[in-house]
Symmetry: C2
Subunit: 469 residues, 2 copies
């Protein structure tokens, strides 16, 4: 793998097609880069002399300094000439935002692009993409206005998307969901840099602990699978693949020209590469935020503790539907709790602390479960609405989490009064889900990756990575 | 069916076990009733003379006026004696909040309850339940404090729950989700009034347009199925049934003593009764809020219009996975759009208006789809984040909705800036979903109920009501 770090940490950037016309693509890219990127940004525009108060150049060849990264956002018919100039200038990488290539049947134009790229050794992202958002370096070529889109908090999840619009949506959505993001890359027609290159790069990135993919179709399957298998041993990879059905595959072919292929082939390829397949985008990031915490179970037994029996039943269902196993509690665990709990408490798994459970009952129950050797992780269902739990009961859970080396997943939901307390749990480092099914998927991702890492022994490593739901 | 309206619209209520001890069950019930219920509320407490400034009575027999509904929240061992007194008093219905009956193995105590009920002709809800929340009459026996729980806005969705804690959670959660609720009933051990009685009652309730159920196990299956089949022709019934797996069934048996039974039997019973089965509680209310609008498709063809191709692909997948059919657009529809759209627009289904679509392109596309005879409903995917759509573009969709007799489902998601505009769509009468899969489930529910109603012809009516995902 050749290094492509200059896309994410360039010393300088030229924006070819920069503009000060409010609302244009060239305007938004310039504006975002000037605001977010600490390095030098040079506008290039054939007509204008000054953009955002900076001297603008007719050609990248006129820029007096070295340029590592060029962002190209001009009419498709001019792109090849401009790329040639980038080559002469010694640019290392170009993000081609412009559309108008293979996706509308302009195959020759796209082939020419690749030729120039090889001639000069310039690496390309795109064309037909929205490029890169790097929450650490400040590279931001996403041409969505900050008047409409909010950007997510820093985190260790990176997202690679074949669809540009979807990448934009995810940036905005993760900001609201308080999901911490590292790098978001929309790679469009992937004429040069593709999924395999990007996951290989992210493998070495200290700011990436989880990789999420949105895929409509993969061209070089073997290379992708080899990279994914290597990377996923250390950095878990989650994939949302659309075009699963006939209707979806047909739509994908009109959208990105992808040959979606038989879904069963993708399923099998993901399984062999230890990629965890997501059912939808909420599922993708539900799993990602649990994996981001980097605390993995050492046993595949899952325990549930609850003060709402019904939610315990739903969680047990959801775990089994994900192919997970409810932990078998040790006799010692059960015996020591019998003395401490009233008779109506169900000391089993799920452990139903019943509706009048208070903070102390939770503490005792949760600690005992975490000490049980068959328990690899615990789902804590916390119905804070009941009279016997004060809203500050969340502090007890946090206290126990701090001294535990096993993952704890919280399931809690509610209205305007409860929500801030659940948010506090998240901000203090726990993962919180609003439904039993979502909590179970997080557990699935953790157990699955622990098997891939070898933390949990499994005879059939090949079975890892199947989506069971 | 005997009338059970006195539970929901009683002329007067006695609270047996009323208390002014803050945080106790008897306190919360009194407080909620005094605040919400406009009729007479009488506290009954063996020890206290005055509660909430009202004269309190040692026995219901001492209350000087007629009592239609008694709410009983005292120790289980005293409930039968008190119910006997209710009988003598001529009470029509009693909600027995107290636990300590069959769920902990006290079978005799529960049988005795039923005996007294029959002797005096008192109908019973419970025991071991949290009772009734009626958003229209103000009956509120839910003992959750308003310091922690917010109650939902008025609406036409009623929810019947075997689990009390879960009913409480749903009240709080629907308040935040702005889902309009009518009646919420937690019926616990259902010694007398059961699901069948309640759905028969709701069938005639002008404030109920959709019935949602949470079930762990049903005892009198035949009666339930007969009622459900009759009711669902007019009022759609949605059910979330837990205990689907071995782990879940075992947990259900510890929780409500339900014999969950083979899941396939429930699946088949729901199908025969035209009950739509939900996969989880978000799914339950996603479908309910679409059905509540009472606009049903006349064709089972679904159309998608989008400015984000990837989301169109995901929506097409999700529709097919729900057993739905993408509408075949008429040649006329396609021809008339060819003249009006740039070449890059994909005039097909999904219709991809592409990333630079503006308000006018949406208007033209959506109108054409609604005029197509094979299109029964339209999913409008609206990525408001793009530069070419102003946030006020939502008004165009609303304008078209007002003159259309076909259901329109909106899929839109985003951060803090976009969310208020999506909320505006909901407040103006549209249904909005944040993911393709959730929008597709809403479409599924609408098509399914239209088939049951006979609005859409189907050869195999028996196939209705299967959950395909």
């Amino acid at each position: 793998m050749k290094n492509i770090d200059f896309f994410f940490n360039p010393s300088s950037i030229a924006v070819i097609g920069a503009s000060d016309k409010v609302g244009s693509v060239g305007y938004e890219i310039m504006k975002n880069l000037i605001e977010d990127f600490p390095g030098d940004v040079y506008p290039v525009n054939i007509k204008q002399k000054s953009i955002f108060g900076k001297s603008s150049y007719k050609s990248i060849l006129d820029v007096p300094d070295n340029i590592e990264l060029a962002v190209i956002a001009i009419g498709a018919s001019f792109v090849n000439d401009v790329l040639e100039e980038c080559g002469k200038k010694g640019v290392k990488g170009a993000i081609i935002v412009s559309g108008g290539f293979s996706e509308i049947g302009e195959m020759d134009r796209e082939h020419k692009l690749l030729e120039i790229s090889k001639k000069y050794g310039i690496r390309l992202i795109g064309p037909n993409c929205i490029g890169i958002y790097d929450n650490f370096s400040g590279v931001n070529t996403i041409f969505l206005s900050k008047d409409k889109v909010t950007y997510p908090q820093k985190g260790k999840i990176s997202f690679l998307s074949q669809s540009g619009a979807f990448a934009g949506l995810i940036l905005d959505w993760t900001s609201k969901e308080k999901i911490g993001m590292s790098k978001v890359v929309s790679y469009g027609n992937k004429v040069d840099v593709n999924e395999a290159d990007l996951i290989n790069y992210l493998y070495q990135d200290e700011n990436t602990k989880v990789i999420c993919l949105y895929i409509e179709g993969i061209r070089r399957g073997k290379k992708f699978m080899e990279s994914a298998k290597k990377v996923s041993d250390k950095v878990p990879i989650l994939a949302l693949k659309s075009g699963k059905t006939k209707s979806g595959a047909k739509a994908a072919s009109s959208h990105t020209g992808s040959l979606a292929g038989e879904d069963i082939i993708y399923d099998s390829a993901f399984k062999q590469s230890h990629i965890i397949r997501a059912n939808n985008f909420e599922d993708l990031f539900d799993m990602a935020k649990a994996l981001e915490k980097q605390i993995f179970p050492q046993s595949d037994g899952v325990a549930i503790v609850t003060n709402a029996g019904g939610l315990g039943v739903m969680a047990a269902d959801a775990l089994e539907l994900n192919g997970l196993r409810l932990a078998n509690l040790d006799k010692n665990t059960i015996n020591k709790l019998k003395d401490r709990f009233p008779e109506r408490v169900v000391i089993s798994n799920p452990m139903d602390l019943v509706g009048d459970a208070d903070k102390e009952r939770y503490e005792v129950g949760l600690k005992a479960l975490l000490e049980d050797k068959d328990v690899g992780l615990v789902i804590v269902i916390l119905l804070l609405q009941v009279p016997t739990l004060s809203l500050d009961s969340v502090d007890s859970i946090l206290k126990i989490q701090k001294i535990s080396d096993k993952p704890i997943i919280v399931l809690g939901a509610g209205g305007e009064i409860i929500s801030p307390y659940l948010k506090k749990l998240e901000e203090s480092g726990l993962v919180v889900y609003t439904s039993p099914e979502r909590a179970a998927r997080a557990a699935y991702a953790l157990v699955n990756h622990a098997k891939v890492r070898g933390d949990i022994y499994t005879e059939r490593k090949k079975d890892i990575g199947i989506c069971k739901t």
